[in-house]
Amino acid sequence: MNSLLTNSEGAGTYLKSKRIRLFLFFVGLFAAAALSMAATNYHIEDSFTAIPKVIVWMARNLVPDGKSLTRLPKILDKLFETVLMSVAASVSAAALSFPVALAGSATSCKQRWLMYSARGVASFFRNIPIVAWAMIFLLTFGQSPFTGYVALFFASFGFLARAFIEAIDETAAAPVEALRAAGGSYGHIIFQGVLPSVLPQMVSWVLYMIETNIRSAALVGLLTGSGIGFTFSIYYKSLQYQSASLVVITIVAVVLVIEAVSNKLRRLIL
């Protein structure tokens, strides 16, 4: 009887402390939200009025009209250029990322200093804002599709290197151990152990990167005046929203198609 009593008391204090923690969590969240709103001049009532307003406006104005349709070939041309740019940036960045990932993975690299420096490089490049890349290349390479490509290349490089390091660590550790034990050289271990194990995952990441880069190309294009982002901003800034919306629709179509194709390919290569 006695023990039963203490038990329920224990449960009581447990529930109480849990409730207090939950309460404190929400108070903290609320305080952070209030602070953030004050700092950014965010008026919550505006967001409630803005959403319906924008939806109505979108329905009325973001509909391609006859004139915008005559621009479709031009838009598709730019979009095609953007897709090519995204593929090229993803694939060439992957080619550079792979050796860096080999150096950065604990599985394929036994020199600790090399491993940590490769990881540092990957992390450094991954976290430099894409805006900084775009702006610097705009200054040095000028306004051109090539500038967009280079900016996407550097942004992809850090991301893929990190992803490849994780893939190697996850899937290649066991075969690498076996090939070392059998007396394989470093080249054998990489080409016969690591590469066949991680290739499907790496291709999968490259496909993902292509999808991401098409979306990022809109951002980079706005900043560097290239590709589909530039096309959008021209129509947007000249208030030709019907044409701007056609740009959005074509981007959506292309991204969905590429996503569907990638998913299909992923299933086929596994």
Binding site: T40, P145, F146, L219, L256
Partner: protein, 290 residues
């Protein structure tokens, strides 16, 4: 007993039997490589001298990394500078963090709601698939375009930025949340249903509490991403904060050393968040697989 396969011409034993997955893999690699080569050969450089521009880029990059320096007046500091400039920059960093926080918070709340309806084990297939395909379309529109579309209705500023950035946040988190809901043991839900609990009780008493640590981890991982997005939106969509300052330093003042200063600030924040996110991923075995 299977016989060894020999090459018809040379009579040598074949080691690799062509498998469809290998063929597809080779095909994909070949096509991607061909597109890349074609693009790089035909890409329009608008007459830029690649070698000279690359050298210039390296020089700028070195300058950024080794001699970062802010100009006080660019940060609204009139006299002296020094510590005041630094605090002004921190304030702008804070604005960017605040934008990311609000986006993650609002997006997270909406995603929690939608995530319940997107989880296959909590609703019927139709609703779940409907939400998922709707979000696929939402995700296909680049964030910067969402922000600019909302800027038409709400004006450039934090409201348009937060709403615009919320779309990808919602789409990402609904996927993450609903997948963690789907991992809940079917037996637990069945047992509660058998004991007479209704749908709301099951969701709020069993499903959400048992995946709360996943929800919080994923939300933080998205916060990390949103910080980078908020920097970009500051630059490309006038959302303010440190991203806008970066855009000004590069696009108006052409000050490489100031770009370096701002990049270091952003790097410091994102490296800390990346470290925390990695720890969370390791703790809960989260893979953000492609």
């Amino acid at each position: 007993m299977t016989a060894l396969i020999r090459n018809r011409r040379t009579g040598k034993i074949r080691v690799r039997k062509t498998q469809s997955s290998n063929l597809y893999m080779r095909g994909v690699l070949l096509v991607l490589a061909a597109i890349t080569v074609y693009t790089l050969v035909t890409i329009d450089t608008k007459g830029a001298d690649i070698a000279a521009a690359s050298a210039k880029t390296a020089e700028y990059f070195w300058l950024m990394l080794t001699q970062p320096k802010a100009v006080p007046s660019h940060f609204g500091i009139q006299d002296g500078g020094g510590i005041g400039t630094f605090f002004s920059a921190l304030h702008m960093l804070g604005i960017t963090l605040a934008l990311a926080f609000l986006t993650t918070l609002f997006g997270g709340i909406v995603a929690l709601f939608l995530g319940v309806f997107a989880a296959g084990n909590l609703t019927n297939k139709k609703v779940s698939n409907g939400i998922k395909s709707f979000l696929a379309v939402v995700r296909a529109v680049p964030t910067v375009l969402w922000v600019l579309i909302f800027a038409i209705g709400a004006g450039l500023g934090s409201v348009a930025a937060v709403i615009g950035m919320s779309f990808h946040t919602i789409s990402h988190l609904v996927k993450a949340y609903s997948e963690s809901f789907e991992e809940i043991d079917e037996g637990v839900i069945e047992a509660l249903r058998a004991s007479g609990a209704n749908w709301f009780q099951i969701v709020f008493q069993a499903v959400i509490p048992s995946s709360v640590s996943y929800i919080l981890s994923w939300t933080f991982i998205r916060f990390e991403i949103n910080f980078a997005v908020a920097v970009a939106m500051g630059a490309a969509a006038g959302a303010g904060g440190i991203g806008f300052q970066l855009f000004m330093a590069a696009g108006y003042f052409f000050d490489i050393r100031e770009i370096g200063f701002i990049t270091y600030l952003i790097l410091a924040v994102s490296l800390i968040m990346e470290y925390l996110a990695t720890r969370l991923k390791e703790k809960y075995h989260i893979h953000n697989g492609a």
